[in-house]
């Protein structure tokens, strides 16, 4: 008989980090301020080997958030039934604390493009994405959280604002939301809106997890700033300030430090987690 209860019922309102194998020994000896871990679902869909063995150990010690990066929930085509069963299998044996995916597409016509590609916010997208979320939630037998993307451009066909679009999706499907504060900052800079307005319009009561990460800076064709979500650097001060603004409205939440490229040594990553801990400590509970 399978134990249907997750090892940990909730993510704590503490910092977590995106798990990287090079930090295994630090995490299992002294995780410091880090109270939970996030893994990318697709990296743990092998038959065996070291990644699965490490995960089996880690899930006894830490609440685990499984973050899918490959389902293509926004895809025009149907969801890949094989990938749905792989997700069901992973969520079944690991029994993670939470599961999340992206408001984006990545697969089309049989090709997986390994990037989170943008969607127009239209009635047609709304219908399709909510059908896909329903299908996923029914398959894995639990609620998912949907993450807001980083935007580099807009679709002229869009008729919804992103916060309204996400709220409507959450209302229709019962899914929760994963708020990536760095993505909000990147999108607002790129599309010349005020990131605080975005947070103020966002359904914060549905947010079960916050993401923070670093971004790169480039320029568009007109010499204006073009920020690129790279997960390869420290979180910048204006994003920490936007986190403070968010937490003041939302109350404390689990906060993930995402650092996927040019992964730093443990002390550098831990310092980011410690800063998130500090931000949480200043929020009235």
């Amino acid at each position: 008989m399978l134990d249907e209860t997750p090892h940990f019922a909730n993510l704590p309102n503490r910092p977590g980090v995106g798990y990287k194998p090079q930090h295994y020994s630090a995490l299992t000896t002294d995780p410091g301020d880090v109270g939970w871990l996030e893994i990318h679902a697709e990296n743990y869909m092998s038959s065996g080997g070291r990644p699965l063995a490490q995960l089996r150990h880690l899930c006894e010690r830490f609440p685990i958030s499984v973050h899918g990066v490959g389902l293509s929930i926004g895809g025009e085509g149907p969801l890949d039934p094989e990938h749905l069963s792989r997700l069901k299998h992973l969520v079944g044996w690991l029994n993670p604390t939470v599961f999340s995916e992206h408001l984006a597409w990545s697969t089309h016509d049989g090709a997986f493009l390994n990037d989170l590609l943008p969607l127009p916010y239209t009635q047609a997208t709304l219908t399709r994405v909510s059908d896909h979320i329903d299908q996923l939630q029914n398959t894995i037998g639990r609620q998912m959280m949907l993450e807001n993307p980083s935007s580099y451009l807009a679709f002229s066909e869009s008729t919804w604002s992103e916060p309204d679009f996400l709220r409507e999706l959450a209302n229709r499907t019962g899914c929760g939301l994963l708020l990536d504060v760095n993505n909000v900052f990147v999108s607002a800079t790129n599309l010349h809106t005020d990131p605080k307005d975005y947070i103020d319009a966002y359904p914060l009561d549905k947010v079960g997890e916050i993401h923070l990460g670093g971004h790169d800076e480039d320029q568009d064709d007109h010499g204006r700033p073009l920020l690129i979500d790279s997960h390869g650097k420290a979180v910048v001060d204006p994003v920490w300030a936007l986190l403070d603004h968010t937490l003041a409205l939302s109350g404390p939440r689990p906060i993930l430090i995402e650092w996927d490229n040019d992964v730093p040594d443990w002390p550098v990553l831990h310092a980011e987690a410690a800063r998130a801990s500090q931000a949480l400590a200043e929020v009235p509970a």
């Binding site: 697709e42 092998s46 070291r50 063995a53 490959g70 997986f112 990037d115 568009d220």
Partner: protein, 250 residues
């Protein structure tokens, strides 16, 4: 102006195509370089995935050449699934057929070795037999014993010194000699290890893995090479946790 994912994908993988109309900045102007962020993300992330999966090939070709060659491959063979751990299964054949690389005949087989190492790394964990398990059989039974092998075990045959090329580039091995090398990959716990096999050992192991009993397989080994050393092959298989069960034929 509706932008379909077919149009988006087409322009993403083909820099010569126009960027889709209907993708704009905040003032409604054409997206331009903003679209190129996605083009770049796709090319860089897939190139990185190939470089991670084929480190010896990346080293042999050098960074710039590898990037250019990966760029051709990823456009003609983007991943068919979101499991990047499996991406590049067609890369060896691509290298074999890629005209500018025809003078480097060994590349495809070295890439096959790297793919096999990756399959081994992610293969299912099955406990090996005890080191003394063969002792449970009477001497006259040994020739009729059949072995099954761990999912992490892989074998490759090549006319090139693929093990030595791998070892020279990845494990501080000596400069390769121009010989043919067959390879066995074992995984004692989590780290796959390639071993160069003699012709006799390769013939014997191939027979064992096809389900032949030890006696018949040993004969295949002796047939393939006079200096075939059955004991040495057995020791290698047992030390590498390669054998997962022993049974007697009828």
């Amino acid at each position: 102006m509706i932008v379909s994912q077919t149009e988006f994908r087409g322009a993403l993988l083909d820099g010569a195509r126009d960027r889709p109309l209907g993708l704009v900045d905040d003032k409604g102007r054409a997206a331009g370089r903003r679209f190129d962020v996605y083009r770049n993300n796709v090319a860089v992330s897939l190139t990185d995935a190939l470089a991670t999966g084929f480190p010896t090939i990346a080293k042999l070709l050098g960074e710039e050449n590898f990037k250019a060659i990966a760029g051709v491959f990823l456009r003609q063979s983007p991943p068919a699934s979101p499991l990047m751990m499996h991406y590049g299964a067609g890369f060896p054949e691509f290298l074999a057929d890629f005209a500018p690389l025809q003078h480097l005949g060994y590349l495809a087989d070295v890439a096959r070795l790297e793919l096999a190492l990756r399959r081994s790394y992610h293969a299912a964990d099955v406990p090996p037999i005890a080191p003394d398990a063969l002792a449970a059989f009477a001497p006259e039974q040994l020739g009729s014993v059949i072995m099954t092998f761990a999912p992490a075990v892989e074998t490759l045959q090549s006319p090139w010194p693929i093990h030595a090329i791998w070892a020279f580039n990845m494990a501080d091995g000596p400069k390769p000699d121009a010989i043919a090398q067959d390879v066995l990959i074992t995984r004692t716990e989590f780290d796959p290890k390639p071993h160069a096999l003699s012709a006799g050992s390769f013939a014997c192991l191939t027979a064992l893995m096809a389900g032949a009993p030890l006696g018949d397989a040993a004969a295949k080994g002796a047939e393939a090479a006079q200096d075939f050393d059955f004991g040495a092959l057995l020791a290698l298989l047992l030390a590498g946790n390669a054998v997962t069960s022993l049974t007697l034929t009828e």
